[in-house]
Symmetry: C2
């Protein structure tokens, strides 16, 4: 289990700040525990958390592009990305680790917005993992073009720009599944494919009573994604370095951390 040793890291907590006070009595979670991992505090590197605008540069006139979305926990994502992030998908649905968490800036404090996440294919390839070379190889083609990705509307939606900007927006409850018949509105993906999560910010539209959203409108939506959040879907981890890093960092996997494991 040889493992690149530039595995020093920064104080994620310091970079992130905290939603120190609950917004209201809403009992939904925030600030997932992965942030609570202590690391050797080095220094504050506020680098690659730069969102790049969506592929379709729609409407460059009407709105000035003030909206910014910044990935939180980017350092951890990059640790995974450097190895080759894998996400398990199951029939019942599996959370992502790390989860997508962002900070948004440049909203109109008074307006209402939806914040939405989806996951889109990176390419049309199917992959397989070659153990002896510890590498992912192309193993075939897939046509994703006929399926529209499901949308995960952040449960706080709709919400004022002010409130969105005050908190860290966490998508830690999102679940990925390989069950195409899923009826729990989880995000459906194919195993052994590469994907990347996207975050959409959409002003509340009073025209349509879009109390439930099945697909994104073609305009008035700002879309962001982040290189380091790309991942390959699996039903069981392929790269043991990924397994190790997951166990190290995901509090729910603490039971698999080394010391006194019996059995």
């Amino acid at each position: 289990m040889a493992l690149s040793s530039r595995a020093q890291a920064f104080s994620v907590e310091a970079l992130v700040g905290r939603t120190s006070k609950r917004k209201r009595q809403d009992p939904r979670k925030e600030a997932p525990p992965e942030l609570q991992e202590k690391e050797d505090g080095k220094e504050e590197e506020r680098s690659g958390a730069t969102g790049k605008k969506s592929e379709q540069p729609s409407e460059t006139l009407e709105e000035k592009d003030a909206i910014q979305v910044e990935l939180q926990g980017s350092e951890l994502w990059k640790r995974f990305h450097a190895i080759g992030t894998e996400m398990i998908i199951t029939k019942a649905g599996r959370r992502m680790f790390p989860s997508v968490r962002v900070k948004v800036k440049g909203l109109d404090p008074g307006k209402q917005y939806y914040v939405i996440m989806d996951v889109v294919p990176v390419d049309s390839k199917r992959y397989r993992y070659v153990y002896h070379s510890s590498q992912w190889m192309v193993a075939g083609n897939t046509d994703h073009s006929c399926i529209t990705p499901r949308l995960y509307v952040h449960p706080d939606s709709p919400c004022s720009g002010e409130a969105w900007m005050r908190q860290i927006i966490s998508f830690d409850r999102v679940k990925l599944t390989n069950n195409e018949m899923d009826d729990k509105d989880q995000i459906i993906l194919q195993s052994m494919h590469k994907y990347k999560p996207r975050v959409h910010v959409m002003e509340q539209d009073s025209r349509a009573s879009l109390s439930w959203i099945q697909s994104l409108p073609t305009e008035g939506v700002k879309t962001f994604s982040f290189e380091e959040t790309e991942f390959t879907t699996v039903t069981a981890y392929q790269n043991q370095q990924i397994t190790k890093l997951k166990i190290d960092r995901n509090p729910f996997a603490k039971g698999f951390r080394d010391p006194g494991r019996n059995k």
Copy 2:
């Protein structure tokens, strides 16, 4: 621990139905487990779950009073009420058991509504429990008039009438506290006083951007309450019959049920 033995009951489950399918991917809970208790099925008594309109009969003209709110789990509430319901309040906040759960009818499916709960004093008396007579006695007076009760806005708010009517609306995450300095937006009550929960249905108001609500508007709100949900606040249970019924019915207290308790 002598205890009245007319503790037979009805099939709560049959009366209630179920939200059999999740609304969407929203991971918030519904259908709390208290409903899953099996009981000797007797028969369906659909009696006292009648909401009575608010004290101020505002605007009898504009809207026809179609909105109805029906208490769910009324049988269990009545079991407690017959003994004298007690609710524990703590500094950290304590859930109610039973919790307030309602079904709403008569909304306009297309309109957006807030559904809100609060808890108001039943009288201005302080009470004490007299053990040897197993009774609550008046022990003094309190002036509640200077404090406005906190509102618990149901986390699904705002939401379409259609969606509200399709589900059972559960307030099981509401927490009661005796900490007047509470900063977690829990419901603040005084111990040893009698209270009753109320449910408010309010059409979304586009005038004010009431993204957050501190107090109810004086009109356009329908208010409902239910005799059997009245309770006395305590910091430790007074009546042992209440303790027993709580332990019997609240899944989280299962550890205190009789059989093989060691210690």
